[in-house]
């Protein structure tokens, strides 16, 4: 009985010992990016951070579910489209670091803070081409030879996937768009896309350059990155402050640190995140092209967010190559 009492005490001690004030970051980012960010936050703000990882929709819905008693402090990161629907559980924060971010990336009231800029790439495994010519543009991927060999993250669950198919629906004519969608395999997990291409499970993956470049940087020579010649899509990713964040001011400090030049440089070097700041030259650190040399097809993010439900319903009705069943 004494033993029982002692362990109960120990348990209580454990629960109390956890520092409640440490900011907790809900993040969609992979481990290396998260660790780089944690290191900079520790160095710049002296804060130890807790991490919960998951998909953007999943984490935002969790923040919404916890709104009576928030468990998280900072959300990092997703597109404005996805985050727009959750404004009532987030809180605007005009971080002083935003002075170094171009105005066209910022959102009204600084509800979210631009953390980095994603560029959509076509990730190709040249060992898996099986004689087909490497694609150079979107319309090449509409060829039936690619049926079932292109993987993309599920637009319903992933902002990456949504950005890609929304952009494609605007860039391509209806017929090519339909043919291309017919070749796609939808993956419920975004991280399975670059992994699937790198392991040769799929010949082509539609994913952000941060993911595809990590394999090129790793020295996997059969991986090629294609920036489609008719233009690709970019989307800024944002961090946000959770409304009623239990860490209070420390949560704001964590966001400042996330947006700092140090953090963005580190994230570029470690996780190949194109910075949202203008004072970092990408090619100084990694072998990625400067943004000015990439052809970008502008998409209207607001319209994309507004038409989300209707677009996803249309998307769901289109025939695809499969969902790997």
């Amino acid at each position: 009985m004494k033993k029982l009492a002692a362990t109960t005490l120990l348990l209580a001690g454990l629960a109390a010992g956890a520092n409640a004030a440490d900011p907790v970051i809900y993040t969609t980012n992979p481990v290396p990016a998260v660790e780089a960010a944690q290191a900079v936050i520790k160095e710049k703000a002296g804060l130890t951070t807790g991490i919960i990882t998951g998909g953007s929709g999943v984490l935002l819905r969790r923040i919404e579910a916890e709104k009576a008693a928030p468990q998280g402090d900072v959300f990092w990161s997703s597109s404005a489209n996805t985050m727009g629907a959750f404004k009532d559980v987030l809180e605007p924060y005009s971080s002083p670091e935003l002075a170094n971010v171009p105005a066209d990336l910022r959102v009204a009231d600084d509800y979210f803070q631009p953390a980095n800029l994603h560029v959509v790439t076509v990730m190709v495994n040249t060992d898996q081409l099986d004689g087909a010519p490497a694609p150079a543009d979107w319309k090449d991927l509409a060829d039936p030879v690619w049926k079932g060999r292109i993987i993309l993250p599920d637009p319903a669950n992933s902002s990456t996937g949504y950005t890609i198919v929304w952009g494609l629906s605007k860039l391509l004519d209806a017929e090519t768009y339909k043919a291309l969608v017919g070749n796609l395999v939808v993956s419920s997990s975004s991280s399975a896309v670059p992994k699937g291409v790198a392991m040769g499970e799929y010949a082509v993956g539609l994913t952000f350059e941060t993911n595809s470049y990590s394999y090129v940087d790793g020295g996997q020579t059969e991986i090629a990155i294609v920036y489609p010649s008719s233009g690709t899509f970019t989307t800024p990713e944002y961090s946000a402050l959770v409304k009623g964040a239990p860490a209070g001011d420390d949560a704001r400090k964590a966001i400042d640190a996330l947006l700092s030049k140090e953090a963005q440089t580190e994230l570029l070097k470690v996780a190949f995140r194109r910075p949202s700041r203008t004072d970092i030259k990408v090619s100084d650190y990694v072998k990625l092209p400067e943004l000015s040399s990439i052809k970008v097809f502008k998409i209207d993010e607001e319209e994309a967010a507004r038409s989300r439900d209707a677009f996803l319903a249309e998307w769901a009705a289109l025939p695809k190559a499969g969902s790997s069943e």
Partner: protein, 546 residues
């Protein structure tokens, strides 16, 4: 209950045990059952009937469980048969099987299978060179293959003892009465070992229903029940429970139905071997021996493959997600111990505390149930077995929902992780403790009491020392299964409280196999060290109660 009984500590301890079980086992279970009916808006069951994907998930899970159970039995029973009845080269290897399943994290197993049989796997590429195309490993093919090769060990463990105890004279008798050898074996031996086979097969069935790690990695877009529960739980959070609780209840009902069938079958056909003389293993020589060695060897080698992969991966140079096979480094290990030791420390602390609590509780409670029966003890016995019917995901959902706020807010604490561990693994200790207590005669205890020693002191000084070997083996089994627990802790953990399996799961998801392998190898060591120390230094028999 008379007045004098109340003066002993036992009724009070029974009440306390029942109260604890009520709060931490019954309450969460009832909570999710009620939430499935009384969620916001329409009942979860009505929504479920209209949700094609969820229904598909339930159907797929049942089919998968049936097929895997069949394959696991087809691999496990013959393997148990040859190893119980014959001697052949490399037999020692097969005795390692039980340890393999306890030691290798399922996430690692799934990933290893992908490296071998995935679209770009070693074998896939080899066969492709000869123009043979095998189906995609994601989905049915991968799930059935990898689960069959994990769960056959449970069938093996469950049947090998039964076959070993089978009296070979019965078989000889049948033969001397004119039955041909093969038929003699089928007709005489099968009925005797059938309960053991069925019981382990049904155990496999429930484990497949509850499996989360492999389902989520290899299932890809094939809807499965445990993955659906996890996704619903993460998406709905702790405030709206409708869908997660409905799906979780479905899982519980499936497993309970299976356990019910199990009881019926075992109660029906039980043959007792009277004064059985187990058959002496016969040596197998020549071509036959070689064939058996080779077949058994392949099965064991395939089960060991993930272990080899992580051992190599843990010391392989990597850059980001790219592995540089053939270049060696200690960096990955340095990371586990120096740069990011959090998961290691968390795992040891949480699993250590959980093991202590779980063993103390189960020892005391099994003593109450076996030796100090009162009105409460049958209920205690029954309730403490309930966690066997809960998969990790279901338990995680129940605990998160029940202790999110209200009278006991545990969300976001370390306590809820330890609690999940204790509830999930406590039945192991219970089974162990009860088995040994039935063998300790009451007269010893009565002698001690009649010599004037008070009941509690008698328990601590006389009964407990006799239980110690069983308690030690229960502690080790609890430790090994707790350290590798993923599915319940993945739901209830909070930032900074990652354990080794959670960290491995996250790293594999990020594609960082080298780091994942390093954490995996350390996890294997954390599991194995106590097992090796206990079995060699303290001579604990791990399967003492079986």
């Amino acid at each position: 209950m008379n007045h004098s009984a109340l003066r002993t500590p036992w009724p009070w301890l029974s009440a306390l045990a029942l109260a604890l079980l009520g709060v931490f086992v019954l309450y969460p279970l009832l909570y999710i059952f009620t939430a499935s009916f009384a969620g916001e808006g329409r009942s979860g069951w009505l929504q479920l009937l209209e949700d094609r994907r969820s229904l598909e998930a339930i159907g797929n899970t049942l089919v998968l469980a049936c097929v895997v159970t069949l394959f696991a039995t087809l691999i496990g029973v013959p393997l148990a048969y040859v190893s119980a009845r014959y001697r052949f080269r490399g037999k020692l290897f097969i005795t390692l099987l039980p340890l393999i399943t306890l030691v290798i994290p399922e996430v690692v197993t799934a990933q290893t299978w992908l490296m071998i049989l995935g679209n770009n796997g070693v074998i896939t590429r080899f066969l492709k060179g000869y123009g043979i195309l095998i189906p995609s490993f994601y989905g049915w093919f991968g799930l059935i293959t990898s689960m069959s090769f994990i769960y056959y060990t449970y069938v093996y463990i469950g049947t090998v003892a039964a076959i070993g105890k089978f009296d070979a004279q019965l078989e000889e008798a049948a033969q001397s009465l004119g039955t041909p050898p093969v038929r003699a074996r089928l007709h005489v031996m099968l009925p005797v070992i059938r309960p053991a086979i069925l019981a382990s097969a049904l155990l496999v069935f429930t484990m497949v229903v509850g499996n989360f790690a492999i389902s989520t990695i290899l299932g890809h877009n094939l809807p499965l029940l445990s993955v659906a529960i996890y996704q619903a739980a993460v998406a709905e959070g702790a405030t709206n429970l409708t869908m997660q609780s409905t799906l979780a209840s479905t899982s519980v009902l499936i497993v309970m139905a299976v356990l019910f069938v199990n009881r019926r079958i075992i109660a029906k056909g039980r043959y007792e071997i009277v004064q059985g003389r187990g058959a002496k293993p016969q040596p197998l020589k020549g071509a036959q021996g070689l064939l058996v060695s080779a077949a058994a060897g392949i099965v064991v080698a395939v089960s060991l493959l993930p272990l080899v992969t992580i051992a190599v991966g843990a010391f392989t140079v990597s850059r980001g997600p790219v592995m540089r096979w053939g270049e060696w480094t200690l960096d990955n290990m340095a990371r586990v111990f120096i740069t990011a030791p959090g998961p290691l420390v968390n795992s040891i602390v949480y699993a250590g505390i959980a093991t202590v609590i779980s063993v103390c509780f189960s020892t005391l409670v099994s003593y109450l149930v076996v030796k100090k029966p009162n009105l409460m003890t049958p209920v205690i016995d029954y309730v403490s077995a309930i966690p066997l019917a809960l998969s990790g995901t279901v338990l995680g959902v129940g605990l998160l929902a029940s202790f999110n706020g209200g009278f006991l807010a545990l969300t976001g604490t370390s306590t809820i992780i330890v609690l999940a561990y204790v509830v999930r693994r406590m039945p192991f200790g219970m089974r162990n403790g009860q088995a040994i207590l039935h063998n300790i005669p009451n007269s010893i205890e009565e002698a001690s009491i009649s010599l004037g020693s008070p009941p509690l002191r008698t328990f601590l000084r006389v009964v407990l020392p006799m239980m110690l070997p069983a308690v030690a083996s229960a502690a080790i089994l609890t430790w090994t299964t707790t350290v590798s627990e993923l599915s319940a802790s993945l739901l209830v953990y909070s930032g900074g409280r990652e354990t080794l399996p959670i960290q491995i799961f996250r790293l594999i998801d990020s594609g960082l196999m080298a780091y994942a392998s390093a954490y995996g190898l350390v996890l294997v060591a954390v599991i194995l060290v106590p097992v090796v120390v206990a079995t060699t230094v303290f001579k604990v028999d791990l399967f003492a109660s079986k």
